[in-house]
Amino acid sequence: MFKHTPLNAAHRTAGAKMVDFGGWEMPVNYGSQIEEHHAVRRDAGMFDVSHMLAVDLTGAGARAFLRYALANNVDKLAQAGKALYSCLLRLDGGVLDDLIVYFMREDAFRIVVNAATADKDLAWLGALLTESEAGLSLKPRRDLAMIAVQGPRAREKVWQALPGSRAASEALKPFFATEFGEFFIARTGYTGEDGFEITLPATRAASLWNALAAAGVRLCGLGARDTLRLEAGMNLYGQDMTESENPLESGLAWTVDLASSRDFVGKTALVAAPPTRALVGLVLVDKGGILRSHQKVVTAKGDGEITSGTFSPTLGKSIALARVPVGIASGDTVAVEIRDRKLNARVVKPPFVRNGAVLVKE
């Protein structure tokens, strides 16, 4: 039995092709994935991301707890509403999940985690909480839905569809969130475009979804979400990093604070073992196929593997993230095994696309 989001009926009415997505029945597209992708790059599109889980952490010692639990440093969160991307690590440095934590008040943080890892994360954080004995409360919010509205015209269309929201959210800078009545509006996303991620009561989800559609926001499935995030150089948990890799091997060194004296789960392991592998971007140069996860990458320093690959609708070429031995530099040429051939690909530094513009040189 698949789990359903509060928008399941709306997706079916709109003619979505529904697929199993980590146990959730979700729309992969509503017709053309490529057209949905372009709508987000050029105008505005929306995604049902209600399968993701918001978890509210409340109590006096919330910041101290997160300072130890997360690889990124919550002391970067000084202003109310500020968001921070972080990995949740095991003691050996392996990535349990990646998440966004929002600082609302000193005793109230909201953490948004991936769907497939939500139960594992709750168990892990719950065990850490028991050890810390800080009297904190961890509350999963399955009563909430989430809609991501993304694209250069996304914010203005949200303001049209949700009366009063403009005054509440126009001043939000990127990676900040605010509460607007029952709505939690964050200027965050997973596409490389401007926009909002709106968390709201499940009972209000369909009416906002319909209002956004009426304002001209295109319905987009998780297929387009994947090509958009890959163009934006954003990792997908379970593909680009797992419990078998640490964040330093996953292009996420920028999210790990090793400089401060702060101790955190996984720090000892990260300091003890310098990374031998790195995550890089690839652009396929030769014709002959599409880069896909698990294809072998042959480099001058040894073999690697593609972790995510696709056809990039914005570049009109195939792109990928690949884990390769350290020492492979941007501009290097590597060979990717596709079927019975070795095709040349160029190493680039992600992102490939940001805010509608191609960032890698042709």
Partner: protein, 127 residues
């Protein structure tokens, strides 16, 4: 489901049109393009290649995945539709108007094993 009555079909979702000169023209069905999603890459066989029945002979890749295209019967490749290499999306627009390749069957009697429209409709409906 769009399954023209004048064509023959395979269980692996190719359509087959017998021509007056004894060759057959092969493409993928509307059901196949729908299931694959937006096509972004097509690799066609070399003209002159000999194919066994059921042999993987061409490749289509959509944004989602790669899939093989199979030879419906044994034969020799006599022509390919080269325009598809640069415009795979045409197959999404009209799967029956854009053929992949033409085959000269080794044994014309093999065509009798292909599915008719009613039989294929049943196959596609099941999965």
């Amino acid at each position: 489901m769009n399954v023209p009555a004048n064509l023959k079909y395979t269980e692996s979702h190719e359509w087959v049109r017998p021509e007056a000169d004894g060759t057959i023209t092969i493409g993928i069905t509307d059901h196949a393009q729908e299931a694959l999603g937006d096509l972004v890459f097509i690799e066609l066989p070399a003209v002159g290649r000999a194919a066994k029945a059921g042999e993987a002979i061409a490749v289509v890749e959509s944004v989602k995945a790669a899939s093989d295209i199979y030879a419906p019967v044994a034969g020799e490749v006599v022509a390919v539709n080269a325009e598809l290499a640069d415009a795979p999306e045409k197959v999404n627009a009209d799967a029956y108007a854009h053929w992949f390749y033409k085959l000269k069957p080794t044994n014309a009697a093999d065509l009798g094993k292909l599915l008719d429209a009613a039989a294929y409709t049943k196959v596609a409906g099941e999965g």
